[in-house]
Amino acid sequence: MTDIAVRPTTTGAGSGFQRRHIGTAPEAQREMLAAVGADSLDDLLGRAVPEAIAIRPDDRPSVIPPAATERQAIAELRALAAKNTVRTPLIGLGYSGTVTPAVIQRNVLENPSWYTAYTPYQPEISQGRLEALINFQTMVADLTGLTTANASMLDEATAVVEGMLLARRASKARTARFVVDADALPQTLAVLRGRAETVGIELVQADLEADGLPEGDLFGVLVQYPGASGRVWDPSDVIAAAKSRGALAVVAADLLAMTLLAAPGDLGADVAVGTSQRFGVPMAFGGPHAGYMAVRKGLERQLPGRLVGLSVDAEGAPAYRLSLQAREQHIRREKATSNICTAQVLLAVMASMYAVYHGPAGLKRIAEDVHATASRAASLLRAAGARVREGAFFDTVLVDVDDADVVLAAAREQGLWLRRADATTVGIAFDETTGDGVVDVLVRLLGRPHDTPPAFVAGGAATLPVPLLRTSEYLTHPVFSSFHSETGMMRYLKYLADLDYALDRGMIPLGSCTMKLNAATEMAAVTWPEFADLHPFAPAEDVAGSLELIGQLEAWLAELTGYEAVSLQPNAGSQGELAGLLAIRGYHRANGDEQRTVCLIPSSAHGTNAASAVLAGLSVVVVACDELGNVDLADLRAKIAQHADSLAALMITYPSTHGVYEHEVRAVTDAVHAAGGQVYIDGANLNALLGRARFGDFGGDVSHLNLHKTFCIPHGGGGPGVGPVAAKAHLAPHLPSHPMAQRGDPRAPFEPGRFGGSPVSAAPFGSPGILPISWAYVRMMGADGLQAATDAAVLAANYVAVRLQDAFPVLYRGDGGFVAHECILDLRPMTEATGVTVDDVAKRLVDHGFHAPTMSFPVPGTLMVEPTESEDLGEIDRFVTAMLAIRAEADRVGAGEWPVDDNPLRGAPHTAHAVSSSTWDRPYSREIAAYPFEAAAGAGRQRAVRGKYWPPVRRIDQAYGDRNLVCACPPPEAFA
């Protein structure tokens, strides 16, 4: 791959795909340049980006090939896909074959109304996915027998880690010991070990079934149910023993098995965790999937991640929104319960719809079929002389063999992937896709040839212990019994999608979120079976195409950021941060500098930085920012001097969270290096840099990138994300490894792809199922196209800043007088003068057909606007016009024309129901309420009027929902 040494060519107008991806055509860009007072894009970027960090043109060969067309990129992806070989997955370990109902694949996974939506921070325009998520929470809570589930976790292994941390927070036991089931999934154990060591938790591994709970203090215990070996046993005595010692019981449970087996809650568990992958979400070589967590009553406030709850809107109608957000890291920073920001919304929606589509009886039937297949296989194998381990199981059995490697190779020849449990044991896991023929092949493979199979073998549910059979009800809410026909399902999905605002309706100008185009060609390969149907622990020979794609993407990302090594394992930005900080920690410790534990973080940083630092075993020291929003160099020097011997790292974001290119960044990074510290540069704002500057060139030692921002992976309504960690060579040995990685031996000396740090995700390459998206983006843009995207994004932000600066002061600009790829509009003077708040403006934008910009981050009382390069000038101007109209309305409020508590802004958003009601006693007209853009002209006006987006609910009462927490589907009467 490194032999592709072709220099990118500059084509001026850009390649075919560049013109599709970048919304502003050359003539529009000329108009915008004139508005911002720059002669050309080079002139603008030359004055905005500090000269000290700008990339100098050179003749070094690039590993990024010249831009491919869309057809070429698809052909190359087809060729990579052809290098993968999909076999029947019998490996198990938390990843099962599953049938994605076609109606869900087409209408959710492949539908931009679902995959291009953002995290539901603006709940009034997110009711569809919030309902789908509350269905997910209800499903998980029901199946686990617990009270409250969150809106999903990143994967099972990290959910277990969060379960452990929750137990430590909630337990009254004053001990650092956490007992772990020896039959837990191996990848869970690997992730748990690294994470526990970092925060000073002592793991005690025990065979809980055979030996019970070990003696001594503990704050929690993890039970895998059923175990990795497949065994099913009753853990209620272990759970009771743990609770009697003041500990919490965490049960990692298979959701499908829970339709047949007593639920964790029924067995006394405090917390249940796991994955919902086998509910219709393809394995995709490891992800993305929705992990889950549920807790018993009383622990709701301890839940990490997103939690959807019920509240009421301004008319008292029920409405969903995110609950208890004050728990989260963007508010609590280093005191947060977790660094987890995002969920896996798109995948949680898919899993919830699988349950909605099949219903409780359908799910139970699937589970019974899977169990029957496993039972039949076990009986036939035993009858044929195979040494199947005794004991109860649900879908997985272990078979003793003479040489596991020989058996695995023979099975692979026959088209089957088995699990190598150890040198003389193989594991076989069955799922809803296992065909009858598979059992016959297994019998031939594992049976003794001289034994004759019996004529009849009994099979069935008799292998499940009767006391453990499930007796409690689940999925009794009508939503799980109402949409079992495909017509019904299609319409339910359409109904929910129509409630929401996503990129398929209009601009989502969220600062720091980079809501750019997720092109159809980029998305195409996601559902190809060669990528979607790979088990994460499939043998290396069968995943060569995916490994090649991963290797290329790693090399491209390294070149673009100026680093030497990239790990794609972290499956969210927060996990990339954690992995990067763990690499810094590992580096200092390897140098004997164990005392280096102080992490400096500017006050303007995203709260996740601080939360991640704490989980990486570092202590946070805040550095002040000056009035321009830049790191205060004097304070930085003082803090460095104060912590000279203990300085581990500085975490900065570049461009800063204030949306400007800090000119002194080299002075900042130099000062940290001089004191022996490492520099972590948060890659959240990389969309302002590609092709213009590289983190590694101006002092960065390690960064995480957000492929779901800069590299086009869609936000999925609040996940999936991919947060690769990129580092200089000296940190590479400490990047995340994985015990089951198909590539790279952690014991070998460092080479690209060979890392030695603890894993941070369940799967070796995190969420490879969506990496073809970013691969296709880079492949179709080429290096010059990526720079053109940066330039267009920076131009768009500066254009918005100039157009709106008279109505809303732009809070920060760089030394050259320009912003980077986003700008902060200061609404506080307007609020002071008129009483109109940031909330009023955000909700009024809904009436105009927009998603609001980022509210009150990083500065309260402001809006941060990031148009991205993908919006065209017409859409940007439509936004500018809406903002100016809102300012004019605010001035009418300020002038006393409308009362401050009854005006079109405070009343926003306006539903069709509200404006068509026979009573209308507002001091403004229904037309102003619903069609504030009536004054606009031309074809755009017609589209705006006819295609108006109607919010389904009025403004939602946030406090009511937090004071009256309801996080499961409300009964239908609630909507009467």
Binding site: L324, Q325, A326, I331, R332, S856, Q958, A959, D962, R963
Partner: protein
Amino acid sequence: MTALEDLKYTAEHEWVDADGDVATVGVTAYAAAQLGDIVYVDLPAVGDEVTAGQTVGELESTKSVGELFCPVSGEVVEVNEALSSSPEVVNSDPFGEGWLMRVRFTELPDLLDHDAYDALTGAA
């Protein structure tokens, strides 16, 4: 209820009403307004030994979290149980029904008087 002018205050926006050896503690109207709609109040347990300056609880609003610093050292003798079901009372009546806890103390530290607190918040 003691008149606001006769209460003692802290720089962390708490008020202290000392009666004998028991101090009733709450947050000021200024603090409640800054926090916004309070949705959850986390208080220490009765019987807890507390030290002045120690964080003993939290007030959570929809958008932020305020820490409750204990203004006096001593033993918690009572907490306002009503707040667990009606945290909004801290917003509506911070100096009255929205009190947070009562602490039995041995010595009252130096606290701000009403004028000094007003000066701190710029209300004077």
